[in-house]
Amino acid sequence: MNDNISTSSQAGAESSKTPTIIGQRSDAIFFLVMGGLSGCFILLIVLLIIADVLFTSPNEFMKALIKPEIQAAFRLTILSCTAAAILSLWVATPLGYLLSRYRFPGRWLVDTIVDIPIVLPPLVLGLSLLILFHLKIGEWELEAWLRDRLGFPVTFRWPAVVLAQFSVACAFAVRTMRVTFDQINPRAEDVARTLGCSRGQAFMRIALPQAWRGMIAATTIAWARALGEFGPILVFAGATRMRTEVLSTTVFLELSIGQLDAAVAVSLLMVAMAVVVLVFLRFLGTGLNV
């Protein structure tokens, strides 16, 4: 009790004095270094876009966009990216789920194969697709079979654009779906199974409804990846105007004929499309913090 009294009286005496200032440490350096390094990258991207905007004028931008070839490329880009994204989601959802939930023989190999399109140089991927479709096995050839038997030629036509975009976009979608399912507690599916669900029903009724944000994120990421695809499309689908030309190949074609203004206008259009996709992601609150 006495201790308490003496302590409070000392505190009273000390409070009447000027308080001692304990060494003031600052976090300024921390924020300066972290912010400075991060800012360099942000600045680079912003400067790139500003440079593009300054290079062209609204008139030239519109003049480029009303060209029939560029309008056709815009339409094909929208359609092919959407087709590639939907196909990617169809494959990525089951594959992401299997990789997330099960330990099966060869799982490491499947996991590695999924990553191959991500690390493979784009031109190599295009070349590999071209070789696959034209590899002769005896007298049989995949491209010839598709063209002659099914009436569905692929190489240097729009299906080749979709397939080239899908090959890369799907790998990113699988990664996204795998992370999505990793974040969903598998115990919920276990409990559903004790309630009467088969594994399929547990997947459809419990896992899938929880994964909808991840599915939207995977579709959007696949769409954005497909938009940026160039190398495999150039090799496997070619860059035929009004037929297999997408916006990424438009930039290349316009550059190759010295139309820098049109190339920049199309680039800005692609930037705008990418921004719309990213804003869409953020709007949906996918948790990917893009």
């Binding site: 004790t194 309630l195 669900c197 419990i206």
Partner: protein, 212 residues
């Protein structure tokens, strides 16, 4: 009746060897034992979520050793409850009944009955995220009982509850025991839970289940 005959379960480095015990029909058995000794593993083996290396599991005389969890008709309330985040309370109670393709009238009657017994009528439209610990327990219990299982497995259902809610849950579990006559195996650390609820007390010591 739950009967385990010489059951061996392996889970990584952990294993339970030669577990044998039975719980008679309608009996409320409480299984006690130290943490990490395999009580949850036993429950998971009974409801089919964990494969057993050897031995047999019988439920009311039927060999369910190799049956899928869905075919065992066992109600299971896991320790972490695992309510379905995309379903509201009513949908939790309806879930197993819809799987069994019950009619809308039967489902409505059963949900009303369960909600009344569990005291969760006012929660039927709520999502799991908005429920308290006690409310979540009741919903998990209702979900497990909805399809009228003959066996109920409870994995430390009262461990995370405050004292008042715990007493309420004691009363509720006693009421369910009388009303449903379901054979129950309840895993707990609490001597008090065992004293209040158990017809029979079992203990897991040195990898063997014995009567206490």
């Amino acid at each position: 009746m739950i009967q385990l005959c010489d059951v061996t379960v392996k889970a990584g480095d952990f294993s339970l060897n030669g577990i044998s015990f039975h719980v008679d029909s309608g009996q409320y058995a409480v299984l006690m034992g130290q943490t990490g000794r395999g009580k949850t593993t036993i429950l998971e083996a009974i409801c089919g979520l964990r494969k057993i290396a050897c031995g047999r599991i019988l439920v009311h005389g039927c060999d369910v050793t190799h049956a899928l969890p869905a075919d065992r008709e066992i109600g299971y309330v896991p320790q972490d409850l695992v309510l379905f985040s995309t379903l509201n309370v009513r949908q939790h109670l309806e879930f197993a009944l819809r799987l069994r393709k019950k009619s809308a009238r039967e489902i409505a009657e059963r949900v009303g009955e369960l909600a009344n017994v569990l005291g969760i009528e006012h929660l039927l439209g709520r999502n799991p995220a908005g429920l308290s610990g006690g409310e979540s327990q009741r919903v998990a219990l209702g979900r497990a009982l909805s399809f009228r299982p003959s066996v109920l497995l409870l994995d430390e259902p009262l461990s995370a509850l405050d004292e008042v809610t715990r007493y309420e849950m004691h009363d509720l579990l006693k009421k369910i025991k009388i009303k449903s006559d379901v054979t129950t195996l309840h895993v707990t650390h609490s001597v008090e839970d065992a004293e209040v609820l158990a017809d029979r007390r079992l203990t897991l010591v040195d990898g063997q289940v014995n009567d206490l």
